[in-house]
Symmetry: C2
């Protein structure tokens, strides 16, 4: 497939393409972003909603293509975003609702969709300082869980989310949706188990690993003395030994009732709000 | 449609019906349980997975129909569940994988599915005692959120989930899935706003309402002196005034970062583990 979705260049300035056909090659390429292979190849992803697109641009993300519904034409915010897209060499498409439905695989699609450049932060560049908290996820599988965790990390004031091993794609449509825009605000990093352990040792962070077999009540750990990484095992298998044995502490959240375990995103939320308990206050930022 | 899915009676004892056709009227009725109208009319719902079905029977739920894949035939646990189903007047169906896929709307369906009788607890019968915690949800909309909250309430050792106003159906396939079996363990009640307030006053429970505009840090509230209801506003609208003004306290979870708010299920989890902080310990039940 032709991947020249954006082809930046002066000749497009001021141009808005109207597209109503689902067989248009640009639309086909955008639709193909629902597949991981295509996202990987083009290093692109889709984000839905005008508010999200505005936030992304304000946070300095590069928009490759802006797609909006005919019905949104002329709305001041849409016009501003379109101008900004063109000014930075992106493409602007005005499409039918049918096309938007096809791109987003939704019956009632958002009126505005953006194709953005993927961006990962580099774990080796991260030098945690006291008061910073990271989440590390071992082979997280569920797109909704990952998205919710990125959103929760943002709300808790964490400094980044580290994906260890083979994980679900943070740039899938489902994950991006579940982040509610936090995918643009929260640095996301990838690492192998070995890379993570190496970084852990080099930086001296405190790694609090959480799993069912953890021996220490999560509320008894001292989260104040060093930067903290909350490390969560995956939905099925729990934490691999390599990671568990290098952890500073093996924590457990006490549970009652018959449920086997908390949902991964809930457990991560509870751990994060405990690790940052001393840093979160009602009156303002820490 | 014919709703006599179970028709209990001695003539069925020992009988297992083989079904491979999607047009079989019993299968059509089971498939129709994906619709709320049909679930309401028949007061039935579907739960997937052998483990869940076993748990449900152990917890005393009534199974109307047991459906299992040909491939599961003869497995000891499946046989036991089939015998129990027949003994209590239920119907047992052995079906093709195609039929199971159609019933569960999944490509790789579970091998065992049960049709159960819906069951709500009655709020008026609930007389909370000290150490008990309830979750009340105002017009919760998202099936996954509701299911995750029921699961989390179970894990936290809560005593029930109260659905206020028009909410998503706790017996939808998506919600039941997200509960991971806790739908069978956690009492679920329904109430109008007026009924809830009446119950609150009659029982003298402490209602801690959580929303963004709450004034009190959720960690400064005394959860020990009375039974507690953690009341959560809905995903879009927050808490209606009627409920907010009757609440014992209006709590807020401090947040940082750009995310608008925590996901409803995460916020509920954080509130529940705070409200039960003094009751949850690593060594055993409270
Ligand atoms: Co291609
Ligand atoms: Co019918």
């Amino acid at each position: 497939m032709n991947h020249d979705i954006s082809e930046p260049g002066p000749r497009r300035v001021g141009q808005v393409k109207e597209v109503t056909s689902l067989t248009n090659p640009i639309i086909k390429d955008i639709k193909a972003l629902s597949q991981k292979k295509e996202r990987d190849e083009t290093r692109s992803f889709l984000a839905e909603g005008l508010k999200l697109v505005i936030d992304a641009l304000e946070l300095g993300w590069t928009i490759k293509t802006l797609v909006y519904a005919k019905a949104a034409k002329g709305k001041p915010h849409v016009e501003q975003v379109a101008l900004k897209t063109i000014a930075t060499g992106g493409l602007v498409l005005e499409v039918s609702e049918k096309v938007l439905s096809a791109i987003t695989r939704r019956d009632n699609p958002q009126m505005v969709v953006g194709v953005f450049e993927q961006r990962y932060a580099n774990l080796r560049d991260m030098t945690p300082t006291l008061g910073q908290t990271f989440v590390a996820l071992d082979r997280v599988r569920d797109p909704g869980n990952l998205g919710t965790i990125i959103r929760t990390a943002d709300a808790a004031g964490a400094s980044g989310v580290i994906l260890i091993g083979e994980t679900t794609d943070p740039f899938s449509l489902e994950t991006v949706r579940a982040t509610m825009g936090s995918v643009f605000a929260m640095p996301v990093m990838r690492a192998s188990v070995a890379e993570f352990i190496k970084w852990q040792k080099a930086t001296g962070v405190q790694v609090v690993a959480t799993h069912l077999a953890g021996a220490v009540d999560y509320r008894t750990i001292d989260y104040r003395r060093k930067p903290v990484v909350v490390l969560m095992g995956n939905e099925q298998a729990g934490l691999p030994d390599e990671l568990a044995k290098e952890a500073t502490a093996l924590a457990r959240i006490p549970q009652q009732g018959r449920a086997d375990s908390l949902n991964l995103a809930i457990a991560t939320g509870i751990m994060l709000f405990e690790a940052r308990r001393h840093l979160l206050t009602l009156d303002g930022k820490a």
